[in-house]
Amino acid sequence: MEIPLLTLITFIPLIGLFTIFFASKNNHRLIKQVAIIAAAIPLILAIILYTQFDFTTPGMQFVERAKWIETIGASYYLGIDGISLPLVLVTTLLTLLALVASWNIDNRPKQYFALMLLLEVGMIGVFLALDFILFFIFWELTLFPMYFLIGIWGGPRREYAAIKFFLYTLFGSIFLLLGILGIYFYSGLNTFDMFKLAESGLSLPVQKWSFLAMALGFAIKVPIFPFHTWLPDAHVEAPTAVSVLLAGVLLKMGGYAFIRIGYLVVPQGIKAYAYPLAVLAVISIIYGAFAAMVQRDLKKLIAYSSVSHMGFVMLGIAAFNKNGVSGSLLQMFNHGTITGMLFLLAGLIHERTHTREIPELGGLFSPFPLIAGIFSLTAFAALGLPSLSGFVGELLILTGSFGVYRAFTVIAALGIVITAGYMLWTIQRVCMGPARKYGNPHDADWRELSTLVPLIAIIIFIGIYPMPILKVIYPAVTRLISKAGGL
């Protein structure tokens, strides 16, 4: 009998959730252990998936279909290909690391870990769903765990940040739903199967309008300027592990959706708006970089750098060719690891120094050589230093967009310079200089290191040898582009 690998990966966290539900709320240790196991198993399964993956075929693999809501034509339809595989890997990995990093949560751990696991189900489901209703439900499923996670365990302005995130994202989701329903109707096929809808020959106006509607939802998630204003607040107020998942995974849901739904189902729609998308992408890059430069709060700085990096991702997507889109996917994978790391480190620094204000930090190399060292390395990766993974992604994106949007590529490259500017300056302000007196002077312990080392290893490895990820991405992207017809 075939093992439904994808269903297992998606729903094992749910089993973990139920187990936690029945555990006593005072048995913190047990709750945390169960949660970590429930997050580790999907990661292991995802790695097995990778080893079993056929790198030569561009189509969907490990497909699982079942009847679900026949009356409206929604089916339970999961599949994975070169586009979703890296994202599933990064999701399972980051969730596990985020849970390990959450070991010290003592305020209502039962609900915290339960919500995190529920979040994982939603995130993985989004990347695997190939039926629009299923996709929509998983997409929405991530909303309310985030609301609680930010609102209960967050910083001083957590209530504001949480409700802003919820309403803003929901607003986008409404338009997403409208777009989906529009496609459903005008295809006349009475199905929500993404592939069937893609082949149904939707007319150009339908494609354009539904893309616009859905794009609003995606754009809020990515986030693209000017729909990014929920991000800084959400990131700053969220607890560390939640920020890791927010930046590392949730933002990717937007980028993935542009590729998967935009290119697959409404290719003419996305092509019609590729140019405006590129414009917004470049604005995001520059705006995000400059905004990061003036931040005093370390987490806010990282948040704006996320906006800037996702701008690169969007530029690659808007370029509509193999290099651009592959670069975007790779960069999404990278950004997950890099920015995930940055937030983990910011959390560690905050725990030790009790501040996130950069002017109050400084000289971290002295008391915390490990943390400061890894932080510097990660910052280098974020600015795209060659031999680290960020460089490969950015290179591919710029190569792809150079042929299509020459001017934008130049501007984006300038964006790299600005990024280098604020990143290096941050390293200098935070890690170098005279050491200050900090309360809790011990460096990263083995548990914290265990969350950092895997990510650093990946960042360095992919930086030198990106093929393991690229060979996964290339076939699927090539097919997607050729089917959509290049720009």
């Binding site: 709320k25 679900w68 809501i69 026949e70 009356t71 409206i72 209502r108 609900q111 929509f136 439900i137 929405e140 499923l141 909303l143 309310f144 609301y147 609680f148 609102g151 209960i152 957590r158 209530e159 949480a162 409700i163 919820f166 309403l167 929901l170 607003f171 409404i174 739903l177 409208l178 329903l181 529009g182 109707f185």
Partner: protein, 465 residues
């Protein structure tokens, strides 16, 4: 017909039994409902009329009967503890509830105006008394008075509307009426009749602008009765309107479609916007039900087969999530809490299961997947898009967003704040069962709505033949 028997039985038992046999009477009532439910289910598949063509049996009627029976079952569970204190006179309470339910079942099973009116009065009069059941509470009296005076006016207007239609066509039976009119003849008279009828039933549904009684009545009435009103009469009005409009006046579609659209838009916006500043949870839920009436009326405005299917789906998910929410309110009030929303703060720490249940109901009312409330809204909005009323669907979606604010507000108090006292709450078994009965379908139907969808489709397609 079992309902008649049950009602009579309870009344008799109340007279005969010892003064305060609350549990016994409740059990009798529940038993009667269960029996009715079983009998109703055995009628599935049959079609016909009885009582000299006054009553019809079709899947549409059966669907609504099941809805009312389920709703009343839950309401009685909710009422058990409220009626425990001495001097509560539970016998008459249960009898009135059963009579009202009977009225509701009748009103959706008939195609004759006279029968409709009789059933309407049966529902209304029972409701007036039930609203004022707490004779010593001035708020309850106020609730009853407002409901009675305005309700009387509404009933009279409805009757006036009927009289126009009868006067013009000479018939009281819907199908005959439909055959007697054409779009050209008697246009003004019929339009007037339809408008008046609509007005009367919109009152019952608490649709804007006929909703003014609802917040005060909902707030003042005993909470189980509020819960009863929020589902029963509203759904009954919806059902009978569907029958009247679609059987009797399909030719006048442009007229009533416009009316329904206006009703729907106003109800949604006013309901949702006015719910935001409320601090009393019963009033908030009252405005929320006004908004939900708006969504249901949207289905009538769209008037396609899919829209009506959506309306039916909506009634079932609405029944569970709304009664569930009220169950939590009753549980909290009986355990010592107040009706003020800020008083719910920290409930998640004091009584996590109760808070979780409320959170589920709030999110489902807002229409968040993967809970059942999503499907009701989805179908209705979907139907609107299908019939080229996209802008109406967009308005509905905007309203969903607005409503989210006040639903999440409750969740915010329960989860994001610290409780003032730490001790856990005592929740009785009937209430726990009611909450569970509300919560389980809300979750299960949210993930697997297919059976419900199929059921609704069958009911509607049979109806439209």
């Amino acid at each position: 017909m079992a309902m008649v028997a049950a009602g009579l039985l309870v009344l008799l038992a109340d007279l005969v039994a010892a003064k305060e046999k609350n549990r016994l009477l409740a059990s009798l009532s529940l038993g009667g409902i269960a029996l009715s439910l079983v009998l109703t289910l055995t009628l599935i598949g049959t079609k016909g009329t009885t009582l000299s063509k006054m009553l019809t049996v079709d899947p549409f009627a059966l669907f609504f009967k099941v809805v009312f029976l389920l709703s009343t079952f839950l309401v009685i569970l909710l009422s058990l503890d409220t009626l425990s204190p001495p001097g509560s006179r539970p016998g008459e309470y249960y009898t009135l509830v059963l009579w009202a339910t009977l009225g509701m079942m009748l009103i959706t099973s008939t195609t004759d105006f006279i029968m409709i009116y009789i059933a309407l009065e049966l529902i209304s009069i029972s409701s007036y008394v039930l609203a004022g059941y707490r004779r010593l509470d001035p708020k309850s009296n106020e609730a009853a008075m407002k409901y009675f005076l305005l309700g009387l006016l509404a009933s009279v207007i409805t009757l006036y509307g009927f009289s126009f239609i009868y006067g013009f066509t000479g018939f009281t039976e819907l199908k005959s009426v439909a055959q007697a009119i054409t779009p050209q003849t008697g246009r003004i008279v019929i339009t007037l009749g339809v408008i008046l009828t609509l007005a009367g039933f919109s009152f019952k549904m608490a649709a804007v602008p006929f909703h003014q009684w609802a917040p005060d009545t909902y707030e003042g009435a005993p909470t189980p009765i509020t819960a009863f009103f929020s589902v029963g009469p509203k759904v009954a009005a919806l059902g009978v309107l569907i029958r009247i409009i679609f059987v009797g006046f399909p030719v006048f579609k442009p007229t009533w479609q416009l009316l329904f659209i206006i009703l729907s838009i106003f109800s949604m916006f006013i309901g949702n916007l006015l719910a935001i500043p409320q601090t009393n949870i019963k009033r908030m839920l009252a405005y929320s039900t006004i908004a939900h009436a708006g969504y249901m009326v949207m289905a009538l405005a769209v008037a396609s087969e899919r829209a009506l299917t959506g309306a039916l789906i909506y009634t079932i998910v609405y029944l569970f999530m709304n009664l569930g929410a009220f169950a939590v309110v009753i549980a909290y009030t009986l355990a010592g809490g107040s009706e003020n929303i800020p008083d719910y703060q920290g409930l998640s720490k004091r009584e996590p299961t109760l808070a979780l249940a409320m959170a589920i109901f709030m999110l489902s009312l807002a229409g968040i997947p993967p809970l059942a409330g999503l499907w009701g809204k989805l179908f209705v909005f979907w139907a609107a898009i299908e019939e080229n009323l996209i802008w109406l669907a967009i308005l509905g979606l905007i309203n969903t967003l607005i409503s989210l604010y006040y639903y999440v507000n409750v969740i915010r108090y329960m989860y994001l704040m610290e409780p003032r006292e730490k001790k856990p709450l005592a929740v009785s078994l009937p209430l726990k069962s009611a909450i569970l009965i509300g919560a389980l379908p809300t979750i299960i139907l949210g993930v697997y709505p297919d059976p419900l969808i199929k059921l609704s489709q069958i009911s509607i397609s049979a109806f439209l033949r």
